[in-house]
């Protein structure tokens, strides 16, 4: 083989380059990732998932949930709304001004310009930033997913196909553990025409003892077991639900800023 060394060199360079692209570059970019601060707050993000939720991630993985569900919310843009908080002394001039201004769906520059005009007229305003995009308008989340959301997940369950809805923010969207258990046992009971297969092997059918179990599912007739029997979730089902409820992408971060629905501090702490 006359050019054996050259073939080896070419193969080495090709594989080496792709190794750099697929392994080295991501490690350089995100290998040092650690907890960050929630925007305008001293709280850190993300918090390590609880023990049952960490086990639940493995149940999620073992049952191939990622084959039909993604955990990545996409965002295509941002929209700013300027909100008048105080008209000031010259309220007639300010209300006249804002009736001629476009105050919703602005870019940041337009919003800053509008807010400067309001300030010049003596009023006060706030700029609210919201993420926009198909996933956001479906109600799947309020901001895009970023690397920090997956800091403690091993392995990350990004998923690639959306047979079912995105689950990145499911803990905030559907935060009721009982609903989640019912949905796992009989998806069509709670979501009509759902394409999801039931995961009944995550539940035990058992004879009702002296008293019914406290965690037995309350099922309608068509899904209920035979008389004298009850359906109770196994630890796997409980862990899986704990994991689902821990999936929340609902705080603003530096890399994904937005204005949370309402910051109100005028509530006494003991009445919250």
């Amino acid at each position: 083989m006359k050019s054996g060394f050259r073939v080896f060199l070419a193969a080495f360079v090709a594989l080496g380059l792709s190794w750099c692209g697929f392994v080295l570059a991501p490690v350089l970019q995100l290998g040092e990732a650690k907890q960050t601060q929630i925007l305008n707050s001293s709280d850190t993000y993300p918090i390590q998932r609880t023990g049952d939720a960490t086990l639940g991630l493995q149940v999620y993985r073992a049952n191939g949930c990622a084959a039909c569900h993604t955990e990545q919310i996409q965002q295509s843009g941002m929209a700013c709304d300027v909100i008048l908080t105080s008209a000031g002394k010259n309220s007639a001039a300010v209300s006249n001004l804002i009736s001629n201004l476009k105050l919703t769906g602005l870019t940041k520059e337009e919003a800053d310009a509008a807010s400067d005009k309001i300030t010049a007229a003596g009023g006060k305003s706030e700029t609210h930033i919201a993420a926009t995009g198909a996933d956001i308008s479906r109600g799947w989340g309020i901001r895009r997913s970023v690397a920090a959301d997956f800091l403690y997940d091993s392995p990350v369950q990004l998923g690639g196909i959306r047979v079912g809805p995105d689950l990145a923010n499911v803990g905030a969207r559907l935060g009721n553990a009982n609903w989640q258990l019912l949905h796992l046992y009989a998806p069509q009971d709670v979501v009509k025409n759902s394409a999801m297969p039931p995961f009944r092997f995550l539940f035990n059918v058992q004879k009702i003892g002296d008293v019914p179990s406290s965690d037995a599912l309350q099922l309608p007739k068509e899904f209920a077991p035979a008389a004298g029997y009850e359906i109770v979730p196994t630890d796997d089902a409980k862990n899986l639900v704990a994991y689902l409820l821990s999936l929340r992408v609902d705080v603003p971060l530096y890399e994904a800023p937005f204005t949370p629905p309402q910051i109100s501090t005028n509530v006494p702490a003991n009445k919250k």
Partner: protein, 203 residues
């Protein structure tokens, strides 16, 4: 028609030869132009591998411009952050104070005062001695050190605004300029000696 090859050599060549022809100039130029445009596009939209820049943000500057920096909510959040860092230890997250350590801030007439000068002077200079809060005379053996002296005007203004609008308090916001004025008048003053001395200060 004469179909005979013009080549006088009857033997076909074993290997065809390119006869030194090069890549056409237009392909080279087009490639270079495409590489240039691609690099420009990457420069404008790629974020230069910054791990914090995600689409739809195009670069770190654009992301920075979207950070909430103004507005009442941002000031309250800034104030809460400072409060949690410094004031929380003695006055408590609920602003109720701690017996023997610090008086309550929630509902305190000093906090809800019309003027901002006394309430700004307390963290700036510290406070010793007895003080009456909500009709109750309180003494705190260790007093309060000049916690606000090391804070910037804007941080101190934010934390005062936060305190004056939290836990049911209804005080006017304090601006950085207000703090600046009080700092100019009373900064570096020894710890205020009880409410008798505090009352000698302008409201």
């Amino acid at each position: 028609m004469n179909d005979e090859p013009k080549n006088s050599n009857p033997q076909p060549e074993a290997e065809s030869k390119a006869n030194g022809s090069t890549v056409p100039m237009w392909i080279l130029s087009l490639t270079l132009v495409l590489i240039y445009l691609g690099a420009v596009y990457f420069d404008h939209h790629g974020g230069w591998f910054d791990p914090q820049v995600y689409s739809p943000y195009k670069n770190a500057e654009e992301l920075d411009s979207y950070q909430p920096k103004s507005g009442a909510a941002a000031i309250l959040a800034q104030g809460k952050q400072t409060y949690d860092r410094i004031c929380n230890a003695c006055h408590g997250a609920d602003g109720m104070g701690k017996a023997g350590q610090a008086p309550p801030l929630a509902g305190s007439e000093w906090v809800n005062a019309k003027g901002f000068k006394r309430v700004t002077a307390i963290p700036l200079d510290g406070l010793n001695g007895p003080i009456t809060v909500k009709g109750q005379q309180m003494t705190f053996p260790s007093g309060m050190a000049a916690m606000g002296a090391a804070l910037s005007d804007s941080d101190l203004a934010a934390v005062l605004t936060y305190i004056r609008s939290s836990w049911g308090n209804k005080g006017e916001p304090v601006t950085a300029d207000d703090v600046k004025a009080v700092r100019a008048a009373f900064g570096g003053h020894p710890a205020i000696n009880g409410e008798t001395q505090l009352k000698t200060m302008p409201e």
